[in-house]
């Protein structure tokens, strides 16, 4: 889909420590997902752009492996950094 099904705060998503992936239910029965490093770089890009990027340059997007729907993940870079620290793993280079 060209537009986002929803905008979800990363606080409201679940984080799977094993796969290091944020996920959220999709109305198709599967889950939207985004890998933590991808979200880190996406929020980093957004922060460098003072929080504003054209829609086609956004990458804080979780996709569903079973359908075409996507959600936009809302949050701050620091929220993601907090997860790395909580899990005691280094930030991506």
């Amino acid at each position: 889909m060209s537009t986002f099904y929803d905008e979800i705060e990363i606080d409201d998503m679940s984080f799977d420590e094993e796969t290091k992936t944020f996920h959220y239910p999709c109305p198709c029965g599967d889950r939207f997902e985004i890998y933590i490093d991808d979200l880190y770089f996406a929020f980093d890009d957004l922060e460098k752009a003072d929080g504003e990027l054209p829609a086609d340059e956004l990458s804080n997007i979780a996709t569903c492996p079973s359908c075409s729907l996507q959600i936009l993940c809302i949050g701050e870079l620091q929220d993601v950094i907090d997860i790395y620290e909580k899990m005691d793993i280094p930030l991506p280079a």
Partner: protein, 390 residues
Amino acid sequence: MGMDSLGITDLEDRDTPFPTLSTSNFSSLFANKHIPFTDKTVNSYNIKYLKCGGNHTLILLENGILIGAGELRELRNDYIINDGWCLLNYKIHEFIKTELNGLVDILTIESISTCWDSTFIEIKNLEKNIIQIFSFGQQCKMELGRPESNSKFNVISSDIDCVASELHSCLYTTIAVFRYVDNSTVLYGWGFNNKQQLFETQNKSDKFIQSPKIVKQFLNNPNVEFRLGKDFLIILNYKENSLICLGNPKLKTEVEQKNFSLNKISKVIVMWSSLHFLYENESLVSLGNGQLGQLSLNNSHLGPVKFLEAGSEHTIYTSVNEPFIVSSWGWGEHGNCGKLDKNKSNINDQQIFTQPNEILNLQKNEFNNYNKIQNLYGGCASTFILITKE
């Protein structure tokens, strides 16, 4: 989508109806079996409720028999009805027998609901009119209403003289409605409260309601109904002719602006992110998220409606004038609205149905002389059609 939630064991999407379960042999299959939580005075194998979670489906029959398909977690047992469906009563009894308020013979499964990855069962004590709600499965937003590690499955029990009750779940949130003999109605809620659909939040921890809490109480008012979407709660207070939306602020504003009068509304159904109001004059008003075609029939005249039900983001419909046809509109990527229109060049346009699309026509396609559409049910990108013999 989890295809085994359709009760079909292969993993292919279906865009034409496919037989998944028949209750025609149930009376002989279950004859002379002492199945816990069935009401021996009810000799009916008709479907009372069909509810869908993210990857599982439950069917409760009028006599209290509960069957399920898909990811049933701890409820799956070895009592197989067919490749996709199994009986759940025995397993539920095994788990909760120590928590029951009464002898099993006077207890029946009254109602069910399904969150994303969990299941709720209402057990009714037929002598004392007490309801006990139990939860099973997994949680990530406190939706079980109890600690997951808890060895007890009970979430809440009603007081005595509870004459009716209801359970509604959507995604990570559940509400239970207890109606008492003194005409009071008590609404409990638990689970995810991310958009304040249950309670106003003061801080982040209020997003998670760990155990049932009273959301609203209505004294001397049995005429109040509730609908639950993924981030909103609709309260239909017929006595006071008021309609309140809690939660999703955009939807809440839309509802307030419409200033609905319940006197003229005959039915309200909800999808995950939108809802329909069917008026007595057979016109439809739709609100909420419409980007997937959910609101395409807003302000249109449907004509006399026989069935109107909702899945996660699609609507299923049968008219009085053509009671042999099931149509659907909204988001149909997985075949839940029928065959995609391949004449449309854009794949996204193919998946969005802005007009009712015929899923089943029993005049063209009969299933072994089953010629009557008895009911419709919607799930996550899935549609269930109950057909019977006239």
